[in-house]
Subunit: 136 residues, 6 copies
């Protein structure tokens, strides 16, 4: 019996959408006000979903406390109250769009959970915009 | 890397569930108080989800501003503060159930996005009732 | 010890903002697309708040079941899936703005609760627009 | 045209995570404060989703009133304001984790809907933790 | 310049509404299914609001980190995953209605904040029922 | 009959809590990770509430379209996708705490509405932290 368990978390961060290898004009054309060189920011709301078989012993797919600790260490401590472009190494050469942030979060968490478990990352950049990534 | 990006929007509309080719009694039996001939209404909350590969240049699946504009022109301008049965041509001979409204929204948006992108429409008729349609 | 207890409820209705004694042009100028003669509609979300002393015997300000029943009988049964302009007598000669609906709800519920209790009506016309009325 | 229709419901219940065949120490190690012998509790928020073809006659996948009644009879009446471990027979020998509760809800509702319809159960144990089960 | 700052928190607990000095029949008549002797439970969502002058030095009414710590120590650690009737001393002889829980929370937090600050407690017993207490 | 009408809006911005006239050490001690020199950010959710008498002609306290336009011009256009410390003149010498932002918003909107109307600003810095200012 496969069940998906999901845990919500959140972090607040500044970012700017731009590519170093593009001119300011091109960045401005593509990213508009998201390319503000002084940065803007978001309260990112994160849902980490793990799918797998229910463990018959415990009735758990994964112990939520373990999942919560992984999210705390890997994501909240690394991203919260940070400037994603400047302070998070994964975005040194990667544009921190919501899409790319979701992929980075997936890649940080996936190696830390059992290989039999599927992972889906849902990331709300605002209450009106969100992305989902499942590793495919 | 396939990512789904989602954008929320909303419109307020009046509607009535009924079929012109049925008697009032039959409409009443099937649709109950939703068949009120004087109409009732909803704040429809809409989530438009687009799945596709991340563009390596921009880090976007689709530019949200473009998606937002499509939703504005095709759905909000056409449905908001309207009587769906009387003023929206798609429902002239189609019962405006949440299911049918979701299909109509899908059919209006799909031709306007790149053919490589998948589309999913989620429509909340109330905060407690919602439908999802992905074109299959 | 004065405590305010609040209960949420909801109803879906059609309405139109206009005054019979104004021309269509004047209604249109003042009420814009809310003056659509074919009506539009909303999911109204209602919060009924009652303030009073905690009853030392029960620990209640008011029994929520009683409050829930009053809201059901007076508001939900009377307004839900209705056309406010046509089918709700209070709006026969009263423009059903959110402000006026809140006042009507207040006036219907106030006589049914103990005279020592204060009443506040909060009415969400949409998730983004709401009004509050406390009888003053 | 396959559409998924979803209906929200809720119930409040007490529970305790533990296995009768384990020592208190082992239960404590695995379930931590969820193993409190005096119980704790939750407002469970439930989303029942049914996927199937739109009925061309009615425009419905399933009549929401029928689905609402099934949820009321099978789930709300059986679980609401109950102690899941003591008063709900399905959990007599089954640990009431969110995962297991979702499976039990699935198994109670599935036989009551048309065999052509797919069912997905989403259960929020808290606003921050939820599970999804689709019968596979 | 008086500003109110509010912080949300939450705890999950079991409880039962009843008075030891009443018969089971009387408890049942007044408290209905909330009098279940096996308990039921809730995810309580708490909003602690503190009103006072903005400190001109810091721009704060109160440092949210300090308020967060007070809520953690006084309320979350004391109430979360507990049976309110059995394990929280304040309810040994006090019926744990939402009203009374709000008063208890107020009385625990008030002495720990500066005497110049006003305190308001808002407690959601469910997403549909909530109470507010401001110490008067 | 006094009614309060409220309108929600939102803006995304970067900020940093610090005082130019304090040492980095003192800023760090008081503002902790909010003092990150590289900035962090939020999705600010704003509720603008206006209290006044219902206009007997229109049934409005204030035309929501007018209020929406004031919020758009004065707040969203000025703050959205901006760095509050660097790009918003009001915070040149004022620490952009939630409290101070609410006061600035109040002071920008108050002169633009009728002198008979009361104004309350509620500002969510995150879904868990918010402030309220009513001009006193």
């Amino acid at each position: 019996m496969k069940v998906t368990v999901s845990r919500k978390a959140h972090f607040n961060a500044a970012h700017r959408l731009f590519r170093k290898d593009w001119s300011f004009e091109k960045n401005d054309e593509i990213f508009g006000k998201c390319n503000n060189p002084n940065f803007h920011g978001h309260n990112y709301e994160l849902i980490v979903s793990v799918e797998g078989d229910i463990d018959k012993e415990t009735g758990y797919v994964i112990d939520m406390k373990i999942l919560k600790d992984i999210i705390k260490t890997e994501i909240e401590d690394a991203f919260d109250h940070k400037n994603l472009n400047i302070e998070v190494p994964e975005f040194k050469d990667l544009n921190p769009t919501a899409e790319n942030i979701a992929v980075v979060i997936y890649n940080k968490i996936k190696p830390l959970i059992d290989v039999s478990l599927d992972l889906v990352i849902t990331l709300y950049e605002t209450p009106r915009n969100f992305v989902t990534y499942s590793g495919n």
